[in-house]
Symmetry: C2
Subunit: 411 residues, 2 copies
C-alpha cells in the first residue's frame, strides 16, 4: 500500500521531536533539505547575536573578554559539543576552520613517527581534507599522500603509514565508516586515525571515547547550526594531548598568552590547539547552535533521522520511479549518515528546478543531488512536500527549462 499524506501527517503528530522545530526560524513554504551544508537559524542565535553585537561589543567593548568570558568560549563551547560526540568536556575545543584544524593535527601527529612516510586516505574524500594533506606532504620531506579505495584501506595500513585520515560520513554518498573497527585496525598497525566528523556531528550518534577514536575534527555550520562558516572543533583523546605539540601556533595557544613572552610554550591540554584570536561573533552564534541540542538525546535525534530517510526513500521509490534516479546512499541505517543522495545525468538541472520550487537541496559534481535530513527542524510532511514537488518536476520535465542549466551556483 502506498503512503498517503494523512499517514505522513500522523507521523508528525507522533514525533517526539516535533516541538524542537520551534527553536528555529525557517521561511514559510520552504522545504530546507540543506541543513548539512548550512544549518537553519536558531531563534536563540538571532537574539544572542543582538546582545553580542550591541551589548558585548558595543557597550562592554574590550572588557567583554573578561566580563562576558569571550576568552573562555573555545573551551566552553567545546565542552558543549563533547556530549554530542561521546567525548570528555576537556577533550574538545573550538577554533579556526576544519581545514586549518586538520592541518594542525596532521602536522603534529606526523611528527610522532617521522620514519613513516604515508598520509593515507581515500579518493573522493572531501577535497579540502585531501588538499590540506597534500600541502603537508609537499611541505615536509619524506611525507607523501596516498589514497586507496575504502575497501583497500585495511590492507594498505602498514609500517609505512604515518596517519590515516578519513571522513566519517561521506559528503556525497552518505556512506559511514565503522569508526571503532577502522580505528582499531589502524591502531593495530601503529597508525593514528584522524576522523573528520563534519557530516556526522549533530545527526549521527558518536561515541569517540567508547570507539577508541583518538583524533577528530568537525564542522560547526552544518548539523550544529552554528551559522555560515562557523568555527570548527578539534578533539584529541586525553592521553594524547600532551604528546602533541602543534606547529601551527599562535598566542591563544600559549601557556601564558598575556605574559607576552618571546619563547613558545604550549598551553596545557586542548588550549594548545588554539592559534590566533577567534572570530567572536561567529563563535558565539555557534554556541547558540550547539545549544539547540539542549535536552535532546542523540539517539532520539538519530532515530528521527532514520525515519526521515526511510520516508524519503520510500516516497521517491513510490512516486518518482522511472525517471532514472539512482539512490547511492546505503539503505542500512548503521552504514550511513543523515543525508540521502541520488545520481542522475541531469542532477544539476534537477537541483536548480527544485530550488525554484522552494525545495533546497545540493548539487554535488558531477551528477549527484543530495538532500540533508535534519531531525531538529524537519517534519515528515516536509519530506512529503519535497518529494511531491520533485515528482512534479520529473513528470513535467520542467527541469529542461534552459534557465536551470545556467551554472553559477557555488555551494
Amino acid at each position: 500500500m502506498t503512503l498517503t499524506l494523512e499517514a505522513v501527517r500522523a507521523m508528525d503528530a507522533a514525533d517526539p521531536l516535533r516541538s524542537v522545530r520551534e527553536r528555529f526560524t525557517l521561511p514559510e513554504g520552504l522545504v530546507y533539505l540543506d541543513g548539512n551544508s548550512l544549518g537553519a537559524l536558531p531563534r536563540a542565535a538571532a537574539a544572542r547575536q543582538d546582545e553580542v553585537v550591541r551589548e558585548e561589543w558595543g557597550n562592554s567593548l574590550i572588557r567583554s573578554w573578561n566580563t562576558h568570558d569571550w576568552i573562555g568560549a573555545p573551551q566552553r563551547i567545546g565542552a558543549k559539543i563533547a556530549p554530542l560526540i561521546g567525548a570528555k568536556p576537556h577533550e574538545v575545543i573550538v577554533a579556526d576552520s576544519v581545514s586549518v584544524n586538520l592541518f594542525k593535527l596532521l602536522t603534529a601527529v606526523a611528527a610522532l613517527a617521522p620514519e613513516r612516510p604515508v598520509l593515507l586516505s581515500e579518493p573522493g574524500n572531501f577535497h579540502t581534507d585531501l588538499h590540506v594533506a597534500s600541502g603537508v606532504a609537499d611541505m615536509l620531506p619524506n611525507l607523501r599522500l596516498e589514497t586507496v579505495d575504502r575497501a583497500e584501506i585495511a590492507g594498505a595500513l602498514g609500517p609505512d603509514t604515518n596517519t590515516l585520515f578519513l571522513t566519517h560520513v561521506h559528503y556525497k554518498t552518505g556512506a559511514r565508516f565503522d569508526m571503532a573497527a577502522m580505528t582499531a585496525r589502524a591502531k593495530a598497525a601503529g597508525v593514528p586515525t584522524i576522523w573528520d566528523l563534519s557530516h556526522s556531528v549533530g545527526a549521527v550518534p558518536l561515541h569517540l571515547n567508547r570507539d577508541g577514536a583518538e583524533l577528530a575534527i568537525g564542522c560547526g555550520y552544518k548539523y550544529l547550526n552554528g551559522g555560515p562558516g562557523a568555527p570548527a572543533f578539534l578533539y584529541v583523546a586525553e592521553h594524547l594531548q600532551e604528546r602533541l605539540v602543534p606547529y601551527l601556533r599562535g598566542w591563544m595557544g600559549h601557556a601564558q598568552p598575556f605574559a607576552f613572552l618571546d619563547d613558545y610554550a604550549p598551553a596545557p591540554g586542548m588550549a594548545r590547539f588554539l592559534a590566533g584570536t577567534p572570530p567572536m561573533l561567529s563563535m558565539l552564534a555557534l554556541e547558540s547552535g550547539v545549544e539547540s541540542f539542549d535536552g535532546l538525546a542523540m539517539d532520539a535525534v538519530w532515530e528521527k533521522s532514520v525515519a526521515l530517510f526511510n520516508l524519503f526513500a520510500r516516497l521517491v521509490e513510490e512516486r518518482c520511479g522511472g525517471h532514472g534516479l539512482e539512490c547511492i546512499t546505503p539503505a542500512t541505517a548503521e552504514l550511513r549518515g543523515s543525508h540521502i543522495s541520488y545520481r542522475h545525468p541531469h542532477a544539476f538541472e534537477l537541483c536548480q528546478a527544485l530550488i525554484a520550487a522552494e525545495v533546497i537541496g545540493d548539487f554535488r559534481a558531477p551528477d549527484v543531488v543530495r538532500f540533508g535530513l535534519t531531525p531538529l527542524y524537519l517534519g515528515f510532511e516536509d519530506i512529503w512536500q519535497a518529494v511531491d514537488r520533485f515528482r512534479a518536476i520529473l513528470e513535467s520535465e520542467s527541469w529542461r527549462d534552459p534557465r536551470f542549466a545556467v551554472r553559477g551556483r557555488v555551494t
Copy 2:
C-alpha cells in the same frame, strides 16, 4: 601657557573628522582608549548584522553564498582594505587570523630559498608572530628562528637570511619601522620581508606599493573596527602572487572549489591564500568596519592621530608630572603609530584604576600602560577627560586600593 579645557573644546569644534564619531556607538561617559585592541562598534555593523543573521542566514539560508555574494566576501573586503594600505584591489584578501596568515606566508616564502636557513625578526615582536615562526622553524628542517635588536637587523641580513618578518608599529612602544628603507635593505640582501600591519592599518598612512613592500598581513579588529576576533587580511604584491604556493590549503583556495577534485591546484591570484570556509558573521561585520573609513583620506586620519597624540603627551606632561610616568613612544610622528605608552612600576594597578574611572586603556606586561588614539571616534575632549581622571588617580594614589592589584584581566 598650560592648555585649558576651553582650548581643547575649540580643537573639537575645528576638527574636520568630528562628525565621523556619529558612525559609531560608544557608551556615554566612557573614554575608550583601546580601539587598538578592539575597535568600537560601527552603527552600520549592528544594522548589517541584523540583516546578515535574520535575512541572509535565516531566510536565504544556503542560497546566500550566491544571492548575497558571501562567496565573494574575502576578495570584496580585501579590495576595500586595499586603498587603506596603498595596494591594488586584487592584492589583498581577507581570511583566517593574523597568526594563520603569517604561517601561510612564512611557509610559502621559505620555500623560495630553501638554502637560506634563518627566519629573522626582533625580540619583543608581538609574541604570536614569534610563536608562529617558531612553529615553522621547528617543523621544517634547516630552518631556524633568530631575533636581533632592531638596530642590528640591517647588519644581520645576509645570505643565510630566508625571510625577515617585522611588525610595522610595535604593539607596546608604538615605534614604527621605516617600511621603505627596511624593505629595500632586505631586498638588497635577497631577503623578502613580511610586514605585520596590525597596529598600523586604519591609523597610519600606508603605501605598500610605493614603499616596495611585497608581503603583509594585518588585523581586522583593531583600527579597522571589524569586531572581536574579526578575520585578518593578507597582501602579496602582484608580481609575487603566482610564485607562492601555499602549504596551508583548503577548498576555498582551490582553482575549482566546486569541482570537488582530489588533486590540489592553487586558485589564481590571492584566492589561493584562502583555506576553509570563512566565518561569515564575523567577516561581514569586518566589511562594515572597513566601510567606516568611507570617504576619509588616510592623511586626514593620520593628521588627527598626531593631534590627539600631541595633546595627550602635552596634557600628561603638564598635569601628571612627578608621578614616575615615562613615555616610551617616539615623540616624532613619523617614527610611531597611533598609540601612546607609558612605563610605570605600577602600570597594572594604574590601568585597573583607570578602567574603574571609565577610561579604558591596556596594560601590557610587565610595566606598560598603553592608550590607543583612534582618530575616527575620539574627540580632543575625550583626551582631556582621560588625562584629568588619570591625574586624579595619580594624585590621590587611589590606584593603591588592593582591588586594583587583582590579576585576572586577560587582554
